[in-house]
């Protein structure tokens, strides 16, 4: 990411509806799939540590490990969390086979410097048999916008591409679905109409939102989580959330 984006991310992620919603999906998944694993959780591409801080609060006593390629991000993460931190590449993890009960990687494999297939093979290697990988990826290639350039996204993805990538790395996909669907019309308007018209420097969408709007968007996300829990699966949405398992044998 651009250096300035780390500062923006660090400042924004703990109070921005999008991160709250993404992290809530991760927490629900870990609670459901990896609550009883004695092995640590790896945040592969932990950035400025917002998710690790939330996991620490949600799962007290759970061993948490975060890696990131960017030193500036890790320094910020260290101020937020007591998780173990190392600077490393997701494509070449400095951990032994079967060391983790769960691997989480939020909007990392889409990064233009990352080889996603190699990273997924590494996640598979470091997971214990039966362990869970949880991914978030930006959805819909045609939605590519200034935001993606600023955070160095190589690409945005289709559901079937992510399922195929997971299968190629040896995972069984448990669930892969779009989310951030209810706000999708607003996202389209912002990305395709308003942002291209705006003057000034091109920015990511990571920016503070006025508190009343943020509360409103959080409420929309809560409704959407209820819909997802009820089994509703939509074919559109800003992100793809995927949960897959390393087969037990």
């Amino acid at each position: 990411m651009e250096a300035e984006e780390y500062a923006r991310l660090d400042e924004t992620e703990h109070r921005h509806w999008w991160f709250a919603a993404a992290h809530a999906l991760v927490i629900a998944t870990l609670r459901h799939r990896a609550a009883n694993s004695p092995q640590p959780v790896l945040d592969a591409g932990c950035g400025t540590g917002g998710l690790l801080a939330r996991l620490e609060a949600e799962f007290p006593g759970r061993r948490l490990v975060g890696i990131d390629i960017a030193e500036a991000a890790l320094m910020r993460a260290r101020a937020k969390t007591r998780a173990s931190l190392a600077r490393a590449s997701v494509a070449s993890l400095p951990f032994p086979d079967r060391a983790f009960g769960a691997v989480v990687s939020i909007d990392v494999l889409c990064h233009r410097a990352v080889d996603p297939d190699r990273a997924l093979r590494e996640f598979h290697r470091v997971l214990a048999p039966g362990g869970t990988v949880t991914l978030n990826m930006p959805a819909h290639r045609w939605l590519h916008a200034a935001h993606d350039d600023r955070v160095h996204n190589r690409s945005r993805y289709a559901l079937k591409e992510i399922r195929a990538m997971l299968a190629a790395a040896g995972f069984e996909t448990i669930d892969a679905h779009h989310w951030n669907s209810l706000l999708f019309p607003a996202l389209l308007l912002q990305r395709k109409v308003l942002a291209p018209l705006a003057r000034g420097p091109r920015r990511s969408d990571v920016a503070p939102v006025p508190a009343p709007l943020d509360r409103c968007l959080r409420a929309v996300m809560a409704v959407e989580r209820g819909m997802l829990r009820a089994g509703l699966r939509l074919t559109f949405g800003g992100s793809i959330f995927a949960v897959a398992r390393k087969p037990a044998s």
Partner: protein
Amino acid sequence: MNEQSVPSGIDPKLLEILVCPLTKQALRYDREHQELVSAAAGLAFPIRDGIPIMLVDEARRLDDAASTTRPEGAAQ
């Protein structure tokens, strides 16, 4: 001893699970030089501000003694 006397000390729980990113072999912790040494890969990974840098591009080659500034008599 206070905590400030080891400002760059590495998290011991992390040390337990780190391996060489290249060979996936065990590492030797060189406390004095704050490095994690992979004998198999011939690389020493620096620890800066307590954070191990497990990137091959940032590692010191073990045959390249000139690239490090070691205190007198500190070599092992």
